[in-house]
């Protein structure tokens, strides 16, 4: 885990910018002030926010929308993964039934 200063250095961020991102809920450090800790995932997320604001010309409102959608997308992806893992562990007949149902639903 990274401390505040170290995180700013690694992410090439101003302390004030990081504070603003935390206040906006874009980054959620573990623990509370003054002992806040950041993970490698937070670092990657900070990099994403920088890509959006700096390189892709997305403004703050846009960042909030995109992060929210990405977070939903990952929730969906994980659910879909566990669902397909659960389906994969079913006996072949049950999977065939589900495939038929999916085919019917698509029409």
């Amino acid at each position: 885990m990274l401390e505040f200063e170290e995180f700013c250095f690694r992410a090439r961020l101003e302390g004030g910018t990081l504070e603003a991102w935390i206040a906006a809920g874009w980054l959620i450090p573990a623990g509370t002030e003054p002992r806040r800790a950041f993970s490698e995932a937070d670092l990657a997320r900070a990099q994403l926010i920088q890509d959006l604001t700096r390189d892709l010309g997305v403004n703050d409102e846009g960042v909030a929308v995109i992060l929210d959608l990405i977070d939903q997308l990952h929730g969906l992806r994980r659910s879909l993964k566990s669902l397909s893992a659960a389906l994969g562990s079913l006996p072949p007949e049950a999977r065939a039934t589900i495939q038929r149902q999916l085919g019917a639903a698509r029409q």
């Binding site: 809920g25 993970s39 995932a41 990657a44 994403l48 992060l67 939903q72 929730g75 659910s79």
Partner: protein, 309 residues
């Protein structure tokens, strides 16, 4: 790799810095790995595009490249991980990203579908953003007449294989719904679990019927017990009790046994009302026949007098 950066971005060699930036943004919006968590090719293409932009987006570097001072590889940005690598992985690396994950994309499924509601319960919410009470879990429970009158404990098997002990309070009514707080589906993002809602259906009893807090029962008695009186044993919800039949009782006579009805909230009980029904012996009896034939008072009595008037 190392293709012509102008071709990678799809711009002319004489394009302006603004045109180059616009071209990069257009591509990057489509290719950024975090905007394409499921597309593995996007990462390679994005690396290429951002490498090209690293070079051409900086007017000074671009000039050096144009003069041939640096090649296309010279300015590649080392970037190994993206946010999606954490969000999408399993195990420890995922932990840091988990707090951001949101189930709002399918929160509405939980109301309608059991399987997705299960999954829904397992996705933890993002901070304080989504904190929801779990859905209620409905049940239908058949309860014996006497269990409903006296109270009982029943064990329910839940769909997930666990069990739930349900205390049926004495005096429960047909159609009543028991609410077991916190025994429904788990909440989301630290939200409280829902409740188990148990609808009670009371199975009728072969001899008892119920009227509010009272029990009604039809009791067959012999002619001798009705005419001469006597002590008989009467079933009640809590077991048989002895009752005195007064001399000269009739069919339809109602006797009350106090405190043998349905248990009430205050701990007392309703009453049991016993309606007598006189039964003659199954086989014709010559002695009874000759007695009744010579019984003047019995002949002059008209039980249908009231119907005639």
């Amino acid at each position: 790799m190392n293709a012509d950066p102008y071709q990678v971005l799809g711009v002319a060699r004489e394009a302006s810095q603004d045109q180059i930036r616009a071209a990069y943004r257009k591509l990057a919006k489509k290719l950024h790995p975090d905007l394409n968590p499921g597309n593995k090719d996007a990462e390679e293409r994005f690396k290429e595009v951002s490498g090209a932009y690293d070079l051409l987006g900086d007017a000074e570097k671009r000039a050096r490249f144009d003069r041939g001072e640096i090649d296309a590889a010279g300015a590649e940005r080392p970037r190994e991980t993206y946010y999606r690598d954490f969000a999408d992985s399993a195990g420890a690396a995922h932990e840091g990203a988990r707090r951001y994950e949101s189930a709002e994309g399918f929160a509405d499924f939980a109301d309608t579908d059991d399987i997705l509601a299960e999954l829904y319960g397992k996705v933890r919410g993002r901070g304080a953003k989504i904190r929801m009470r779990g859905p209620d879990l409905p049940f239908h429970l058949h309860v014996d007449f006497l269990e409903a009158v006296n109270g009982a404990t029943r064990r329910l098997s839940l769909p997930d294989g666990s069990t739930l002990d349900v205390t049926i309070p004495p005096g429960i009514r047909d159609g009543q719904i028991l609410r077991l707080k916190g025994k429904g589906r788990p909440g989301l993002g630290g939200g409280p679990p829902g409740d188990a809602l148990i609808e009670i259906e009371i199975v009728p009893h072969p001899i008892f019927t119920r009227q509010g807090d009272d029990i009604r029962l039809e009791l067959p008695v012999s002619l001798a017990e009705a005419v001469l009186g006597g002590r008989v044993e009467v079933p009640t919800p809590t077991g048989p009790v002895a009752m005195t039949i007064p001399k000269g009782s009739n069919s339809g006579t109602v006797l009350r046994i106090r405190g043998k009805g349905v248990a009430k909230r205050d701990g007392t009980r309703g009453d049991e009302y016993v309606t007598l029904r006189i039964m003659l012996p199954g086989k014709p009896d010559p002695a009874l026949e000759s007695f009744v034939a010579g019984w003047e008072a019995g002949r002059s009595f008209d039980p249908r007098e009231r119907e005639k008037a």
